[in-house]
Symmetry: C2
Subunit: 458 residues, 2 copies
């Protein structure tokens, strides 16, 4: 009986596209659309500029596109930068059981590879779905202890997902897939201590890069442990106090973790979302004047307070992890979009004035997509609501139309409407596209693409 | 009172070369000489060839030299490949208290950087000594639990040492040094499950690359946690069940961990060394005919059995971690050098015949540099010895002359005697060299250098 690593590797290496149900394929397109919007809208953030300024000097040939921007670097560097950019806005997807943001590391690695070693849209989607599955199954096996212990689970599991997706795209056999998992496992890293700093999104970029490198090395016969996951001193035992290895292989090919994926309506920590829902609902229902708000009482589960209990965030990065800022800005602006999480908004005295009136308490009986919000006005009147299922949660998912609207809003930062129309269509029809790299090219405005092309031909 | 990370960062950023004692400077030269020999002799191993074949396609401008070989890649890729190559023979140094092999990740990153951003020999040595100190101090803080748990400690602590050395070389201030430590901490990775595979040495190369990237990012203002080591979800708490943070800052600048560094006389796991000493001593003292050996009884401490208990190694990589192969080959050949650990020797039936007569037992009373060896001959006669201090241990260190002889033997794989003479002289006088990169250039035979230069000018 072969071990868990080999069983997983066998499944990935031998999976057929016809075995992937239509609903899973469609969820793949949804995930890619959502991710691409995040990558485009995040592409000029300072976190990305500084990373590019650092890596450019060391980067190789123009093999892959920086999404939204148009510069072309070697595929490993592009994977790193696109991974970082697409997580920067905290607007990417979430596998709710593990709190993994699954698409970023997998798609950033795979699309960079697809520009260098052409893949059809179907090959891309197939590799993508398998990468997400492996990533989230390993996450299931070590949750919740691994994340609670302080591991940035999207990075630690993301490197595995990226390796699997890229290994599949490179058509490596099961033995090499096992090595790819072993090479990725030994590069698994990422500390929660970096949350609220630029380094948080870099963790994802680093995972994407390392995962792609793992697949490329394995394809070249680079050996690693063949039991990288389950070995006594392998991933599961070293990175988790307790693990349930069977989660990795149970119902392989029958149950697809991608179907447990959720898409955010707000660009901030997902545990904040029910609070924003509650504030927006109360504001609209009672036409609340933000200036008249005397007190905002919020009850949330303990995890939300742990992750997002920052009372006085200093900038955009910290604001995205602040229940206080999020509640305040939702009440003040009546929305919680990209604009509500800029440095300027986080330090705006009008936002801070309301933020200081927010009081948070924890209630272990609440689910992670639930919250109670009570708003007391200066007049003495109070309004209260219970959010049973946050928008965007599995019980109340964003529709295709809502996802498309989110994409259009995000992509408009770089692209004209006509360009967005084309890209949306290419995402929805990805399965039938002859070349998956069309997504990378289409993420860049025609003008920027032409400029980059002139630059490279010099 | 600032935290441990900041205290360490302050020390590194403000250290003066004049504060580094002469004996520490000399130990720096010894460590660099030993390391450079290992890098040269390991440079054409299959582990390196496959890594280069993979990375070359993605690598950037010719900024730094592949030691011994002469190809030039971008500094990050060169750091990765040289880090991998210099550990491949298991002949590099050891900080005995932690079993960290400290020089590989630090020197591989720093020398690659020095070719791209020139450093004097003194600046190089200063950054090197500080990097080793930070790396081993963090190792002290989490030993022995971290390593026992399954972490490849040279990689997990090596990325920190590389970041510190490169940050110092880039002359970043204390705040950015703190970020560099935070960026490195979140990239710390490496699983013991990879031992005995190509991936083992890649862990070091990956650490060197990631550490250099951390310093470059921090120099460009890339933020990370300022408490990357001691934060609740930082390096110490996440990667170790127990830690003693004060080990990191106690007697900073008064006690230098480089003085606890040892150099190997044999290219294999260091816990095997006393066994080899015992076999060689008995063989010489009693003129033992290997064919007449009926039984070899070895007593070693439990750690040695855990790490190197492989009874039937299949190749060079496994042979280097086998007490059985090592004892057999030492008895058969009367030496244990690079030649004794090739694939061919590990699978040689004559070696295997003796290997199968080796019996290992553990004795917790023995130190990690101790062993008892008893050899019974077919005639019924038996000889026994107790190795109290292995050659190359701190109690019986290799002399400068022995280190130089080791270097000459290793470097002769690529260089002519005249070239070796020059390089040895440059290592010993590194403190007075105007350009540290002379070591990288000097590691390559004149002919190979010329060929690479023609190639790059095309």
């Amino acid at each position: 009986m072969s071990g868990i690593t080999r069983q997983l590797a066998d499944f990935i290496a031998t999976s057929r596209w016809n075995d992937v149900p239509q609903e899973v394929r469609h969820e793949g397109a949804r995930a890619v659309l959502n991710w691409l919007g995040c990558a485009i809208a995040g592409c000029r953030d300072d976190t990305v500029e500084r990373l590019l300024a650092t890596l450019r000097e060391f980067a190789g040939k123009p093999q892959a596109t920086l999404l939204g921007r148009g510069e072309r670097l070697d595929a490993l560097s592009a994977a790193c930068i696109n991974g970082t950019a697409s997580n920067r806005l905290d607007f990417d997807d979430t596998h709710l059981r593990t709190v993994i943001h699954p698409t970023v590391p997998v798609a950033a690695a795979l699309l960079a590879l697809a520009e260098h070693r052409p893949l059809t849209g179907a090959e891309f989607l197939h590799a993508f779905v398998l990468g997400i599955d492996a990533e989230c199954r390993v996450g299931n096996a070590i949750s919740p202890g691994h994340y609670e212990h302080g591991w940035h689970i999207t990075a630690t599991c993301g490197v595995l997902g990226a390796a699997v997706a890229c290994g599949r795209a490179l058509k490596i056999d099961a033995q090499r897939m096992g090595w790819a998992l072993g090479i990725a496992a030994t590069q698994a890293s990422g500390l929660m201590a970096t949350l609220g700093t630029m380094c948080k999104s870099y963790n994802m970029g680093h995972a994407a890069r390392s995962g792609l490198a793992s697949a490329l090395l394995a394809a070249n016969g680079y050996t690693s442990s063949e039991r990288g996951l389950e070995a006594a001193r392998g991933f599961l035992n070293v990175l988790a106090a307790r693990s349930e290895p069977r989660e990795i292989t149970r119902e392989l090919g029958l149950r697809w973790e991608l179907m447990q994926n959720a898409y955010k309506p707000y660009p901030c920590g997902i545990v904040i979302h029910p609070v924003i829902d509650g504030c927006l609902d109360l504001r609209a229902a009672h036409r609340i004047d933000p200036v008249a708000v005397a007190k905002v009482e919020i009850a949330i589960p303990p995890l939300a307070e742990q992750l997002c209990g920052r009372k006085a965030p200093r900038d955009s990065l910290e604001g995205k992890l602040s229940l206080y800022h999020s509640a305040a800005v939702a009440l003040l602006d009546g929305e919680a979009g990209v604009v509500q999480y800029t440095d300027a908004r986080v330090t705006d005295p009008r936002v801070i004035a309301i933020r200081d009136r927010v009081v948070v308490s924890t209630d272990p009986a609440l689910g992670n997509d639930q919250a109670r919000v009570r708003i007391s006005l200066a007049s003495g009147v109070a309004h209260e609501t219970f959010v049973e299922r946050a928008r965007g949660s599995l019980g109340r998912p964003l529709t295709d139309a809502e996802l498309e609207a989110k994409f259009r809003s995000l992509a408009s930062a770089e692209l004209a409407t006509r360009e967005i129309d084309t890209l949306v269509e290419q995402c929805w029809s990805l399965e039938r596209q002859p070349d998956a790299a069309v997504l990378a090219r289409g993420s860049v405005a025609a003008g920027a693409r032409a400029a980059e092309s002139r630059c490279n031909s010099r």
